[in-house]
Structure formats: C-alpha cells, structure tokens
Amino acid sequence: MNELLIEFLSGFTATNEWAAILPEILLGVLALGLLGAEMALPRSQQTRWIPRLAVWGQVIVLVLAFTCAGCCSFDQREYFSGLIAQNDVTQLMRGFFLLSSLAVCYLGKVYFVRQSALPKTEFYALVLIISAAMMLLVQSAHFVMLFVALETVTVAFYVLVAYNRRSQFSLEAGLKYLILGALSSGILLFGIVLLYGIAGSPELVASSHDSLNYTQLMHFVIPNMDNLIVKIGALLVIAGVCFKIGAVPFQIWVPDVYQGAPTPVTAYLAVASKAAGFIVLIQLVSGPFFGLQDFLVPVLSVIAAATILFGNIAAVTQRNVKRLMGLSGIAHAGYLLLGVVALMRGVDWAVYAVIFYLFTYLLASFAVFGVMSLSAAADDAIQELDHYQNFARKHPFLGGVLACGLGSLAGIPPLGGFIGKLFLFVAAFQASLYGLLIIAVIGVVISIYYYFGWIRESYFSAPSTEVVNEAACPSTAGDRFLLGAFTVASVVVGLLPAALPIIR
C-alpha cells in the first residue's frame, strides 16, 4: 500500500521543478524580507533603506531571471503536472512585470515624499507580491492556478488602491474596485464551473477527468463547439477577463479607480494589470477556446470597436489628467483587442505585436505617470489639465519627458508607440479586419487631439509672470535618470524596433 502511494506521488511530483519558478519565489522572499527588515531596522533608517532594498532586490531578481539557465529557456514546457506552462510569451511577460514593478516601487518612493504620514513598507511588499502573482498568472495552464493567481493580484490591488486611508477619494476608489472586481471574479468563476461541469460529464464525447486543464479543455471544446453551455461558459470567462482589461461593457470602474488610486498604483493598474489580462485572454482564445473562434471573433470584434470609440470619445472632454489616462487606457485596450482578434483569425505573429505594443505602452506610460507623480499636489486625486499651464517653461526636462511620453501614446512617428500601433494594424490588415481598422484609425486621430491638448497646455499656454517655484516639483538625479531612460528607450524602440527582440 505504502509503495503504491509513493509511486503515485512520485508520478505527480516528477514535474515539480521549483527552479522553473525561481524568480517568483525570490520575489516572495524579498516581499517577506521587507516586512522583516521593517521590524529589524530602527525607525530613522527605514525610509532610507526599505525602498532601496525593494528596488535593488528586484534588479537582482531581474538579472537572475534572465541569466540563470533554469528560467530563461524559450521552449514550450510544462511543470507541476500541467499547472504551469512556460513558453517564449510567458518568459517575455515575466520580464515585463518585473520591469513595471521596479518602476512602480520607484514611483512609490516619489509618492511617499508627499504622503509621509502613510505606512511605507507594506506598499513595496504588496507591489512585489502582485508582480510575482502576475508572473504566475500568465504561466498558468489550469483554471485553479489561474483563479488563485488572479485573486492574489486583485486582492492585493484592493489594498493598494485604497492605500491612502486619509483620502476619501482613495477609499472610494478602493470600494468601487472591490465591488466590481469581486463581481467580475464571480462571473469568471461561474463560467469556469460551467466549463468544468460540462467538460467532465461522461455522456459527452471527448469528456475529460482533468477538465480544468487548458489542454484537456481544448480537446473537449473542439468536438462540442455547438453546445450551449460551452458557449455560455466561454462567454462568462471572457466577460470576467474583459473586466480586468477594461473593455467596453465592463469599463465603468476604470476612470473612477484610476483617479482615486495613488498615482504609482494607477500606473501599475494601467500597465501591468492590463497586460496580464491580455496575455490571459490570448492564452484562453488560443488554448481552451480555440474551437469557438467562429463564435468569439464577432463578439470580440464588436467589443474592440466599442472600446476604441468609447475610450477616445470620452477622453476628449476630460480635464482631470488621471481620468484622461484611464479613458485613453480604455482606447489602448481596444487597439490591443484588435491584435487579439487578428490572432484568432489566424495571424500567428499578432501575439508578438500585442507584446511589442505592451512594451512601448509601458515605456510611454511610466514616463507620463512619472511626471504626474513628481508634479502632483498634496491631494493626489485632483490633478487637472490646468495645473500643467506653462509646465514645460518651469520644468524643461519634465516637459520634454511628458511630450515624448504623450507623443508615443498618441503614436507619433519617431517614437515607440507608432511602431507598436503599426505592427497591430498590419496584423489586423493581414487578418482582413478592414472595418475594425477604419475605426482604429479614427480612434488614433481623436486621441492625437486630446494628447496634444495636454502638450499644448504645457508648452504653448499663455506665458504668465508667475514666479517659477522649483521647490514645488523637485526632481532628483535618480528621477531624471529613470524618466530619461524611459524616454530614450521610447525613441530607440521607435527608430530601431529590432532593439526589442520580440518580433523575429
């Protein structure tokens, strides 16, 4: 009996290669280490050492993740009895999430200079945990793994969004995110359960004993694609994921939450959370829901068109810059959905176009959010366009970074955002999605209007005799280095797309 059990267990544990998820483990250890360091260090030393520990620890993890042999292979592999699958896409996205959490930790340090009454260590610990969970999320190949990783991300985000507990804006944003996030998790779960039940039902052909596994589910869905419950389940799962990426029928939370959350958290939500949602969506439509393409392509096409139009049109009249970034983020989700639809229509390289776009979006967004963090007033939620009058005259360097970031988001030629949009549009063209392409181009034209409204406000508003108050917006050498690096990277990627080794 005992030997049987041991044999059975060793069959299961044969694929438990912990080295494959070494970066995630190290991030978790680092997060716990930060909490330990808070207890060990004297209070006067904490503000100095904890942000440094968080930032440099992540740099070390990033270097390790891309140099050590165990976790930088780009081959297709499965670990933990099919719970985790790694391939080139997941490896690139692990780097993406590490980069963004690194930038968020840095912006957090800038934010805490103004909000010095808030506790600090937990912020870094939570950012690290979210980063590790998102890395696991994109690697998950099983619905239980997907759910646990997704909930780790969202529950930690509830705390981060409501982090400023002295601000009613932050708390209200936290509550809204909590209710709508939990609602979307519920919808996603109900879809998963329907799929689990129908795919495990012994009466149907190709039913499986492991019906929560992506591969098994894919083999089940292909012969049963006309089953009503399969369609409802798939729709509910897609709806749950669309909540996370802020696509149109489910976008109501985006402007409020983006406005109320602390600026570094807004940046994290806009860049990393959206990216994770898109990679999950891509893995679902090219994995378990591969057989449902005829049904899902029209649905996602309509969502993409509505998302692009809604995001751009709603952003035109917006005066609060955080809401503006949220609404324009919805529009960017629409362009990315264009890539997902192209992928479903058989353009295989569209997945790399999506990742390339996400990287250019990361570079441009963090440049803009960095400037926003540096120039924010005491209340973080109230950042109006009017505050940026004569901004470039007062702060030439930050004005330049802002202009480059916004230009890249709008898709102006020498910058990275242009090439990102170009790849997505070419993919859509190859998939012959002409109607969607026209809508996307109209969206880009509208977006140039409001992005340039912001640039005009900072460069060409009426010159005032106001005394330049440098102290209101101090930028240290580190800030300048980071923002300069993002801007230079945007330009380099725009001029030499091959600098990002994604599309081969």
């Binding site: 619905f143 759910f147 509830y158 507990r165 209200e172 109900f190 329907l194 495990g200 019906s211």
Partner: protein, 101 residues
C-alpha cells in the same frame, strides 16, 4: 430517490442570479457585499454538484480555494467599508460620488 444534477444547477443558477441582481440593484454597500458572497457560494454549490456527478475531485478541491479567497476578500472589504464610513458617515453607494465627474 436521488436529486438530479439539473436541480442543483438550477438552484446554483438562481442563487447566482439573485446575487447578481443584488449587486446591481441594491444601494447599501453591506448588502452588495452579501450578494457578492452569495454569487461565490452559488459557484461553490455548482462545483460540488458537478464534482459528485462527474466523479472527479477537482471541483471539491477548487471549493476550498474559493472559500479561502472569499474570506480574504471579506476581511479586506469590511476594513475598507469601515474606513470609508469613518470619513464619510455613509455606506450608501448613491452618496459615495466624490469621484464621478
């Protein structure tokens, strides 16, 4: 006499619908919160029923994960609601509108 799978799924679907309507229609944050829990428990019921009728254990195991996550969500949600009540003296969603403009 045994109860068929369809009865379980019907009850689970009804519970889920009640929860969804509660989230959409009610104005009190605490009741919205209870409705969210109802949705998660509808999912749990369906999982256990499917698990029993399909003869696989995954569903039963999944339920434990969902219960744990729901507990974490409740702990956090109540903390946020209490902090918000201290600042605003209200938990009605139609009065929490400082962000929507």
């Amino acid at each position: 006499m045994t109860v068929g799978i369809n009865a379980f799924i019907l009850v689970a679907g009804l519970l889920f619908a009640i929860g969804l309507l509660g989230v959409v229609l009610r104005k009190n944050t605490l009741i919205i919160y209870m409705s969210l829990e109802l949705m998660l428990n509808a999912v749990n019921l369906a999982l256990v029923a499917f698990s029993r009728y399909n003869g696989t254990m995954d569903g039963n195991l999944f339920v434990f994960f969902i219960i744990t996550v729901a507990a974490a969500e409740v702990a956090l949600g109540l903390a946020i609601i209490v902090a918000l009540f201290r600042l605003r003296q209200t938990v009605m969603v139609d009065q929490l509108t400082s962000l929507s403009r």
